[in-house]
Amino acid sequence: MDSYDASESTPRQSTSLRPEDYFIGATFLQKRLESVRKQTSFIPTPPRRKIPHCSQLQEDVDPQKVAFLLHKQWTLYSLTPLYKFSYSNLKEYSRLLNAFIVAEKQKGLAVEVGEDFNVKVIFSTVLGIKGTQRDPEAFLVQILSKSQLPSENREGKVLWTGWFCCIFGDSLLETVSEDFTCLPLFLANGAESNTAIIGTWFQKTFDCYFSPLAINAFNLSWMAAMWTACKMDHYVATTEFLWSVPCSPQSLDISYAIHPEDAKALWDSVHKTPGEVTQEEVDLFMDCLYSHFHRHFKIHLSATRLVRVSTSVASAHTDGKIKILCHKYLIGVLAYLTELAIFQIE
């Protein structure tokens, strides 16, 4: 928490950092200092502006190929850059990870009753999931159960899926050297034990670090506003919010569901600048919902904690769980999550 305490004394701190620049030179370290200084700047930053998702690479995303990414609940992690990872060695990694998993499971570390030890690991790249050409390719790891009978050549059931991606990760890509591959966002679906084993293997092999990515209420309200702003042909789900009221002994949950077209109408009345979303618009959008609720129920939702946001585009939970429902805005959703992951790493 030093960065918080340092904000008070930053004016003095920044002047002392400048002589360092001449000694260290234009190196990776200097770039890191620059980014740290920018973040702890005492001068208040202007309200954040986000350009909603229109990537020119989006056309490359084959809806069929990414269909398996939709309608699944993913647990989010942020990942530091991978050291000496190579896309040409994917088969090798499959073999190594397979052996590791079998060894770990036989060690009895993650034993479940009736579990099939015959598993197959597949690494594959997923083309088109990136923001700019600079972003590294996303890749996928799947654990499939191998069929017991050799005569059956069918692909087994998918037990666990995890994928790594980077969308508009320029701020991170600039600060790392050539040996590192930056894929800060990791999404996992499947048993926790498998996630832990895969995580251990990656951490040992590529000297990286996984940490769970939680989404705080502030970011959830941004997501609510951005996803409500998305133009949809037809809405598949109602727009729903869930708040957690801190009270003892058991916390109370408040759920607020709105017809998606009403939510879009509210957003349109709040939204001023085309192509951008500002902090004021997000705050106003949420304040409208809060005041409407207060008028009817006399409860200040702003004193509670926003825990879950669910729209037709995607739904997100504060514990770091996400479900993407619309392939059209996949890149946009991932871009914001990548930004949160990079922020957590830095």
Binding site: Y4, P44, S302, R305
Partner: protein
């Protein structure tokens, strides 16, 4: 609807009065308790208020320092603080107002961006302190800067 003025009453001898303004009673109570536990030569009085303006019917001593407690987990506390600031006289902001942001430690629960409170403190030219009152160890540490602020303001 009275506005709080710093010099409208005579100062009391060897006594300082601090006003804590915030939405969460338990939080304010904890902070007040930890401040009163500190050893000091002069007497300290702590008043708690949910919001300003204060009711004018009550007879109270002159306020030497106002601390606005903003809970980063609750947008409501920020809105309450902004509302209350309107009822403070401009001359109070010459070193007699302080902002205290709590809950910064639990980033996952934050509803307010840190820059919002920084901007607020910057606008009102008053210091901003961070504190996590849930952690028992940090409470006495929080009391210290408060007394320092109070010492800075003229008795």
């Amino acid at each position: 609807m009275s506005v709080l003025r710093p010099l409208d009453k005579l100062p009391s001898l060897n006594t300082a009065t601090i006003l804590l303004v915030g939405t969460e009673d338990a939080l304010l109570q904890q902070l007040a308790d930890s401040m009163l536990k500190e050893d000091c030569t002069s007497e300290l009085k702590v008043h708690l208020a949910k919001s300003l303006p204060l009711p004018s019917s009550v007879n109270r001593p002159r306020i030497d320092l106002i601390v606005f407690v903003v809970n980063l987990h609750s947008k409501y506390s920020l809105q309450n603080t902004e509302e209350s600031l309107r009822h403070v006289d401009a001359s109070f902001f010459l070193g007699k107002v302080c902002f205290l942001a709590t809950g910064a430690g639990r980033e996952s629960h934050c509803s307010i961006h840190r820059h919002t409170v920084v901007k607020l403190a910057h606008t009102y030219q008053s210091p901003l302190l961070y504190c996590d009152l849930e952690d028992g160890a940090s409470r006495p540490c929080c009391g210290q800067p408060m007394r320092h602020e109070r010492k800075k303001s003229p008795p």
